[in-house]
Symmetry: C2
Subunit: 149 residues, 2 copies
Amino acid sequence: MPCSLARTLSVIGDRWTLLILRNAFMRTRRFDDFHQQLGITKHVLSDRLKKLVEAEVLEKRAYQEKPLRYEYRLTEKGLDLYPILLALVNWGDKWMDDGKGPPIEYQHRNCGRKTRPTLVCSECNEPLSVREVIPMLGEGYKTKKTSIL
Amino acid sequence: MPCSLARTLSVIGDRWTLLILRNAFMRTRRFDDFHQQLGITKHVLSDRLKKLVEAEVLEKRAYQEKPLRYEYRLTEKGLDLYPILLALVNWGDKWMDDGKGPPIEYQHRNCGRKTRPTLVCSECNEPLSVREVIPMLGEGYKTKKTSIL
């Protein structure tokens, strides 16, 4: 798969997977907790957790020997998914709410204020919008019939 | 569904849907172009486009009368998905590349420089990372057994 988006989606492009990740960010670690919080079948949960471990987004660690019990923790690769989760939640709060206001708001620990995560340009710090961003071919681009973003 | 992430994922939480949206951001508008670029079956494409139109993420507009032909365009709600697509592509370029470097880079039209879209705090402008963001209950929170982010 030459396209990095397709590769990304092969790992996380699934509704249950993203809900599991959201709960992982909320410090859910144990199979039974994921199961109770998400209301999905143990079969689906087990399958998705296994795939996330194989993709090294979660790591599976024993926290107890007798009986043997595991927990699932976000790796550095997994923690780096945070902007995706935040962007999904932001869009949902804006476009999928029923007029009641956002269920969750965010405080920035460093400055202490209520924050709206904002996507900006790394060079000039201005907010980015789709019309201002021009995709260009980078060094890894192959001249095959691939879709590009 | 009390949870805005679950509602969001019910609209876009699907690999093919996200690939279709990525191509829509690259100005693909016609069914045959989506079909040729994405290599998915017409049945799946048709189904996903229909759902995106129902969710008002895309609008379906006739561009030709005889024969009648339609194109699919991002609505304002759809354009607002851009941070999600960018975040997905960024993560994929960083963690799913095969060492060749990013296939696509981004130029910020306003400042003219190559940009890395960066998530910052709306109040203090510092880059946000997961450990610095504290979720708090907002006005729309219901005290039900819901998972929160």
